[in-house]
């Protein structure tokens, strides 16, 4: 959707092979074949696919540039570019402190962002429920790249130490019942009371849609940048499309 509107604003058109599952895999066609065919119809391909590495495969078989809009539990680079852009609108990224909050195990936006931030000498703080912490393989990778990672149990511990608070959704289905979900979710909720202890220039980001993670009263706070972040999605995707087609 967001890539389609980005393309429209650039004055182009888009074709959507909306459900690859329905139209080709069901017929037994490989992704490689689908990509070979589609690359004859378009100047660029944007792919979102349930298998990890699908975008790399597509790039091998396409005659036109390929943009990865999310592959399985893998990377989500377009979201990460707009996250970085939103942070940079407020501050220099080099050497800042960023807290990732919420489901850090399954949240691929958090994984992609953490990898990107490791290029900027950022110190990473993590606040997540037990069992939903960053995968250890990713922690190893990031540490090897020289990133300092600090785990916190409590949001109040981290709030005064960071420049960016990146909040991700905690999904209800990760919990056995709704009571335990509400207990956990409420202790990771961003409220105006929590933000009293924040640095003045702290910004709060969220890849949206949110459920209970951010109190709606925070929306009016000068810290809230998640709607701006969401709006940045279109110009950042326009830039990506332009860049690959030039």
């Amino acid at each position: 959707m967001s890539f389609e509107s980005a393309m429209a604003r650039l004055g182009g058109t888009s074709l959507s092979v909306s459900s690859v599952e329905a139209c080709s895999i069901a017929k037994g066609e490989t992704l490689a074949d689908t990509i070979r065919v589609v690359s004859g119809y378009a100047d660029a391909i944007v792919i979102r696919h349930p298998k990890e590495g699908a975008a790399r495969l597509a790039a091998e078989f396409a005659h036109v540039p390929v943009i990865n809009a999310g592959d399985g539990a893998g990377q989500h680079p377009s979201q990460t570019l707009l996250d970085l852009y939103t942070i940079r609108q407020s501050m220099d990224i080099d050497g800042i402190d960023v807290a990732l909050v919420g489901d850090l195990r399954y949240g691929r936006t958090a994984h992609s962002l953490a990898s990107a931030l490791s290029l900027y000498g950022v110190r990473l703080h993590t606040v997540s429920p037990k069992g939903l912490d960053l995968p250890s393989s990713l922690v190893n990778d990031l540490t090897e790249k020289g990133m300092e990672i600090i785990e916190h149990d409590d949001l109040t511990d981290v709030i005064g130490q960071v420049d960016v608070l990146y909040v991700t959704r905690i999904q209800r289905e990760r919990f056995p019942d709704s009571t335990s979900y509400y207990n956990v979710a409420s202790s990771y909720r961003i409220t105006p009371e929590l933000l009293v202890g924040a640095r003045r220039h702290l910004i709060v980001l969220h890849p949206l849609p949110r459920v209970d993670e951010i109190d709606p009263r925070v929306d009016a706070s000068p810290h809230a940048r998640y709607f701006e972040q969401s709006r940045n999605g279109i110009p950042v995707r326009m830039a990506m499309l332009l860049k690959v087609m030039q």
């Binding site: 490989t30 992704l31 298998k51 590495g53 699908a54 790399r56 495969l57 399985g72 539990a73 393989s137």
Partner: protein, 162 residues
């Protein structure tokens, strides 16, 4: 290059393994890995050629090493590359008419294609797509990284070899 075993060799291996007329001697295999080398060579069940294996032979440089001698067989580059993955110190001796006529070490490749299966079930390389699996060999024995999904295989490499 030498044509006959030294007394030291005989003392060490002479009783364990007889010499072969034509074929390949894979020496300096990491101790205990000989059966995995066999697996790489596809020798799992019956074979008509003569074959000797010695495991955990004392070695001055390696502590313990394994040796595999295969009659009437020379190895392909792919096979040698796979052996390098599990035994980077291995040496390949090609024997013709009881003489070692070529002796070379193995080299760990930078890129491994088609020999290793990605452990990630969600990886595109584990589907029916017309591609070979592809892994980058990480420096300092840190394992292999899938070039599709970026999963890393750190240990127990042999169980992933196809």
């Amino acid at each position: 290059m030498r044509s006959s075993p030294t007394p030291e060799d005989v003392a060490k291996e002479g009783l364990l393994i007889s010499r072969i007329k034509n074929g390949t001697v894979i020496d300096h295999i990491n101790g205990g890995e000989a059966l995995n080398v066999m697996k790489i060579l596809g020798i799992t069940g019956s074979t008509t050629e003569s074959l000797s294996i010695a495991t955990n032979v004392p070695s001055r440089n390696m502590g313990k090493k394994d040796i595999v001698k295969l009659s009437n067989r020379e190895l392909s580059k792919t096979e040698v590359d796979r052996i390098a993955l599990i035994s980077p110190k291995a040496t390949i001796n090609i024997v013709r008419n009881f003489k070692v006529c070529e002796k070379k070490g193995v080299e760990i490749p930078i890129l491994i294609e088609g020999s290793v299966r990605c452990p990630n079930p969600g990886c595109i390389s584990n589907t029916n797509e017309p591609i070979k699996s592809r892994f980058a060999v990480l420096p300092e024995g840190k394992g292999l990284r899938c070039l599709y999904c970026e999963s890393v295989i750190k240990k127990d490499l042999t169980s992933h070899i196809i």
